[in-house]
């Protein structure tokens, strides 16, 4: 079973070393973004799916380009 973990603290993930990590600089409690902002949440979920496919080495970390409360998303 392949796994991917979202991380809100890169430093912790670098130490714990999960198999695959998608890192976001978002506040605690907001791994998928802002409440009821479905387009943003879909974007993040799809980014996680892409990371599941693209991370090919154990311990790989992909940094999300997103910034908290910035940007717009398809469908908004």
């Amino acid at each position: 079973m392949s796994t991917l973990g979202i991380s809100l603290l890169r430093r912790i993930s670098e130490q714990v070393r999960p198999p695959r990590t998608y890192h976001l600089r978002f506040p605690f409690g907001h791994a998928l973004g802002e409440p009821c902002r479905r387009a943003q949440q879909r974007f993040i979920f799809r980014d996680c799916l892409s990371a599941l496919v693209s991370i090919s080495e154990p311990g790989g970390i992909i940094d999300s380009p997103l910034r908290w409360r910035r940007g717009s998303f398809p469908g908004e």
């Binding site: 079973m1 392949s2 714990v16 198999p19 409690g29 791994a31 973004g33 996680c48």
Partner: protein, 157 residues
């Protein structure tokens, strides 16, 4: 206070973690549109009727709760004193993206979902770390495997 990025980074710098000797690895076995996905959260989500997580123990609670994949939003609640879950109570997808997964199943981007999702309460430390690593996390992993998940997405709080 943890809303401030600098505070979070300072906490992370001082926080000791359990690190494995090797990194477990399972390659993706099939295309995502053919994969069954499990969701695991550390957001303290649980069914209203289930026992809440233990909040009086300063070392946390290493147990987990099962959440049916078709549970309606109003059947769920959050017990987790270590993060502000005001927004997550308004929209569970922030810590347990059940509705997003359902959308992507409908569009064919993901093949399916396990019958249940799994929820822990983060902030597990001291003696409960051993229980988590040697018992409860393994129990959850076995159950996820029994439900024939191909992939699992772990969502923190």
């Amino acid at each position: 206070m943890f809303k401030l990025p600098g505070v979070r980074e300072l906490w992370a710098a001082r926080h000791a973690v359990e690190a494995p000797d090797t990194i477990p690895w399972a390659p993706l076995s099939k295309p995502l549109p053919e994969c069954r996905m499990a969701l695991v959260t550390t957001g303290g989500v649980h069914l209203q009727g289930d026992p809440p997580f233990e909040v009086d123990d300063p070392h946390g609670d290493p147990s987990f709760r099962r959440i049916p994949a078709d549970a309606p939003a109003d059947a769920l609640t959050i017990t987790h004193p270590y993060y502000d879950h005001t927004d997550a109570e308004q929209d569970r997808n922030l810590v347990l993206p059940m509705d997003i997964l359902q959308e992507l199943r409908a569009s064919g981007e993901v093949g399916g979902a396990t019958a249940e999702f799994f929820s822990f309460m983060g902030h597990i430390e001291g003696p409960h770390l051993k229980t988590l690593i040697q018992e409860t996390a393994l129990d959850a992993a076995r159950e996820i495997r029994r439900q024939q998940a191909d992939v699992a997405l772990l969502v923190p709080a």
